[in-house]
């Protein structure tokens, strides 16, 4: 960080200021060295008002196109509805902006592939999809231990994404466009498995599920609890679980099992370091949502993105000199290609759920 702090800052425009967008904006504004929150864009009045008050002097845009036209913006940060991601990424790249986009890239495999094709035309631009677990300190620690051989050869992943039940069932209304539980939730676990398995290709998937509480999901073929099995090349396996109906909180955890040991990340989703002793026993409160669980990951993700953009610039400047720059490719999170593969597997799971049959990839 020492030297980077002296370099020109990366000027970022955040697009979409819903609950998660606000968090990204605050991180970029106040906690990412080398970043300037230069602009904020939202079609929603309330969100623009918030931006004026909470953020440090950003230019405020109502339209995405106007923001893209702003020559002072180096990068866009998309926290918009999933259905807009693909076209907004393409537009950003064509406007010469680096781009960070919340997951998913797209729920449609062909659309993902079109975005990749465009991105290949702009190799000097950073394009990252927000699979934030790749920046969570515990996931990173486990990954590094695994990579250093601590558990022998890893051959199995178990991973889950489960949310505290929302009695109002917000996600039920969201279900017709969410892509279903596997594309909406399990996609994070899919990305974890691919990351830990070194981008191994998935070969076959199976899925099933049930509706525990939210009958409203039935009409769009979705479930509120889903189970998936994914086989990867090389005899590697992954088992995923996703739930919308947990009583205790957001309980995201993963395990990687190897021939000489295993690593578990987040086995008990305790909210903090407090133990409560009372007449009911000893208990821990749990992380209520993924915001609390991955607060640090969201921040590090933003820091890594900004650092990566600055290193790209530095490389560009010294390209003739052949200087030995630190290469940080392992640290910049999920690529568009990673996002494409996650969507491909997630769609196959959706198909397996609907058909009751395993799907070969």
């Amino acid at each position: 960080m020492t030297t980077s702090a002296k370099r020109a800052p990366v000027r970022i425009g955040v697009v979409g200021l819903g609950r998660l967008g606000k968090r990204h904006a605050m991180n970029i504004a106040y906690r990412v060295p080398g970043a300037v929150l230069a602009a904020a864009c939202s079609p929603v009045d309330e969100e623009r008002t918030w931006a004026r008050e909470a953020l440090p002097e950003p230019r405020i845009y109502e339209e995405y196109e106007a923001l893209l036209a702003d020559r002072d913006i180096d990068a866009v940060w998309l926290v918009t509805p999933s259905s807009l991601h693909a076209e907004q990424i393409v537009a950003a790249l064509r406007a010469g902006k680096h781009v960070f986009c919340e997951k998913p890239l797209s729920l449609d495999v062909a659309e993902c592939e079109r975005v990749l094709a465009v991105a290949r035309e702009y190799p000097h631009l950073q394009a990252t999809i927000g699979f934030m677990r790749r920046f969570d300190p515990s996931y990173v620690d486990a990954y590094e231990k695994m990579a250093a051989g601590a558990i022998g050869r890893p051959f199995m992943i178990r991973s889950q994404t489960t949310d505290k039940n929302d009695p109002e069932g917000f996600f039920v209304r969201f279900a017709p466009t969410s892509g279903g539980i596997f594309l909406d939730c399990t996609v994070h676990d899919i990305d974890v498995a691919r990351w830990f398995f070194g981008n191994a290709r998935a070969t076959r998937v199976y899925a099933t599920g049930t509706i525990a509480l939210h009958e409203g999901l039935r009409e769009c073929g979705d479930v509120d609890n889903g189970v998936a099995v994914v086989e990867f090349e090389g005899g590697r396996l992954a088992v995923f679980y996703a739930s919308r109906t947990m009583a205790h909180g957001n309980d995201t955890h993963s395990e990687v099992i190897g021939t000489a040991g295993a690593l578990a990340i987040g086995h008990y989703p305790r909210a903090n370091r407090v133990d409560i002793y009372d007449a009911d026993g000893i208990r821990n409160e749990c992380t209520p949502t993924f915001f609390e669980r991955f607060e640090e990951a969201f921040l590090r993700e933003a820091q890594a993105f900004v650092e990566s953009v600055r290193q790209r610039r530095q490389k560009a400047q010294v390209q003739a000199g052949g200087a030995n720059l630190p290469h940080d490719d392992a640290q910049i999170g999920a690529t568009l290609a990673d996002a494409l593969e996650a969507t491909r597997i997630g769609r196959a799971l959706r198909e397996a759920l609907a058909s009751g049959q395993p799907i070969a990839l």
Copy 2:
């Protein structure tokens, strides 16, 4: 226990004195009120010698038939090779003995059904298959909490049976007759799921697996790590994991998830209450094998069997009087019918593993 201790003891003959057989024999001999270890039977010289020295004055038999002919024996306790279970149970019943038999009843569904048919002729005889988790204090506590409504409606079970890797691969030599990992290991998890789901019928299963270390399993179509998904009527799901290759010990745990909470049994397989603080951090040693994990369960299983036989006698004596006896049917463990269903599901998993297709039941 107060009154039962005065009643005539149950005279038991243990058959098979391998490692597990010796443990059963010691429990019956010294730790089960109301039981008398009256006889021990083994074709192995060393085992009979052990019985003479370690057990309190049992009659020693080399042949099972001779033990069955002993009029002083009330019950037989079978800890013999799986392939003998069915015929030995039938012979015991025909000889008028109550019978406890280690799992499995049989690896063959039709054979299981034949034993059930015979047993129906002897309704006054107790016949129990040794799914010992039904007697583990933690499993029982979780079951009772669930039954009392603590977690709402249970709709999902996750359960695993994993063993510390045996570098000598004893189980590889045993593989051709073990029935494979699902019939040998997962059968316990199947029984847990059926027990917690109130004997719900399984409707469809899927399975896959991999060989992490023991290539010798390949020729008999077995794996050393297997994953299974079982759907039960009423939208209930179970996910099972079995492994022969854990580094840290026997790690048997189960979770039951309901609409208002969840219960986990044995999440961390710590061996005891000791935490070790050293330069590597803080650690717990783990239960090395299922013996240590289920020591108490094996004992309570034996106590419950003996108590059940004594209550049957008492009922028989007072049958005319219509006395109000405590009925303990929920406490006597897995019936022959439970064992049949476990085998039926286990065989379907084996078929699913071989075919790569879900199997309807």
Copy 3:
């Protein structure tokens, strides 16, 4: 256990059949190989009635002297009021009986010394005071790890004995004769410290305390929460905590800290292996009383006592032959000398509490 099971049993008379006495009697009757529960003695009608029904054919005595006169009794097992222990032990030894006695030996140091003087006349008789933690599997495991050098040189013990609050304050009525919180509760922690510190001598003690809930203790100078610091020779320290007012259960734990690591025993007093997930978080129920926490320790204590008596007999029989018998001195629990030292330290703590000054020993 193999060979011992063939030797003549130890015939035991249990004296005192209150709540703890009943447990000891049931263990001896049904779970200790080589023991026969030959007699039971109580001045209380209800307790003798219980003995007739629950125990296997014991002779029933109302008077201790009558039991001592019974030539068929090899050993007495005293679970009587503390004030009777010293004279009952002496009488047992003079009657030629081995003796197990619940703690404390006596609240009076001089009286402890008189019992030791008598016991020296009967070196062939086993005399054990019931500091059951010495038989708890977790304490034993930690002790063995420490003895094997796992934590370097141990120099500090922290240990606590805390009970779930009894709103009816039974112990308040018991306070005038209990000796106070340090002699009643902390005495177990004192014994743990002495055991782990290899019988090091205590040199100075300090204590303080408070009344959190039970004002009735004030008139006898007692507290319901007490803290003690004990210095041992060689620069070793112990810190103790005792409480009568815990909300969550019996929380007995100990730590031994060394120059290369530490060991904690019972840090979380979870009742079993069940985790409960609900809207309040994740919790464990706790061991409600010391009975549940030390159930296994009480049993192993009895087994060790019986085994020790049998080995003493065997030694006596082969004394001329010089046979190489296993010596089990480390396994037979707290001696009368250990109990004397525990009382000596406990009394000093009581004096420190009363005076507000450290007491040199």
Copy 4:
């Protein structure tokens, strides 16, 4: 945070850029909304060079007096040797600067009192001593639960500060000026106890200790493991433990025990959410130093200080209007008076250690 971000920033000069000073500087520079790292001061060349490279355009000073003369600096942030704290705070106040100072205020009670006397002349200036646990999210959560009545009436605190052993014994060289283990380490636990006990007055203290590894401490009367008991008015007790010799890491934890429950903070000092399963069992790595343990606390401490300064300004601006501003006095950390009391208790512990006698306060 919304409105505060629009107000004029607080311009801070950090003084002292050792390991902890660098961390504070980076927090202020990049992670505290509303703060500007305006200046950095150090007599050490290397540290000033670091400041030039790592920090965003601060003015660099070699001498503290020069920084105080800088009219653009609103507040100073002292991370200097303890012996300088008192005079530097006084000089800052006299120069009209708000001041944050790392603990301790001073090792000398009279000197603490002199600083308080000066501070009383500048009531409009914020003066905070860095007891960062008051900002740790887990400590804050426990405090709030206690304050809300979750554990009834709190009557006992147990708290410890233990460091991973430094085989090179840096702190031994530091011992002659550190004030000894209680003033250097336990002072944090003292502050926790006073905070949780609502600033109750300590009435009597006792202490003892031992040298486990670092014999070099003996000549200055210090120990590497110390134990302290502090009695507070109202029958409240605290027990403290400090160690320099832990094998597993920095293990800082605290418990507050009440009449209806207890709260523990940091019982297991796990470094993150990773569990490691291998042939040694299941383990967690631990926080190596207080930096990792209290990283978030240091940040929130700085954020709270800055927010407090801004609110003071706002109050000053609206003083005539009587506007209803949020008052945040409970959130701005330890005052000079808190630091004085911590020193008073710490010195009494030192005296108790030296004399072997309890010390009345």
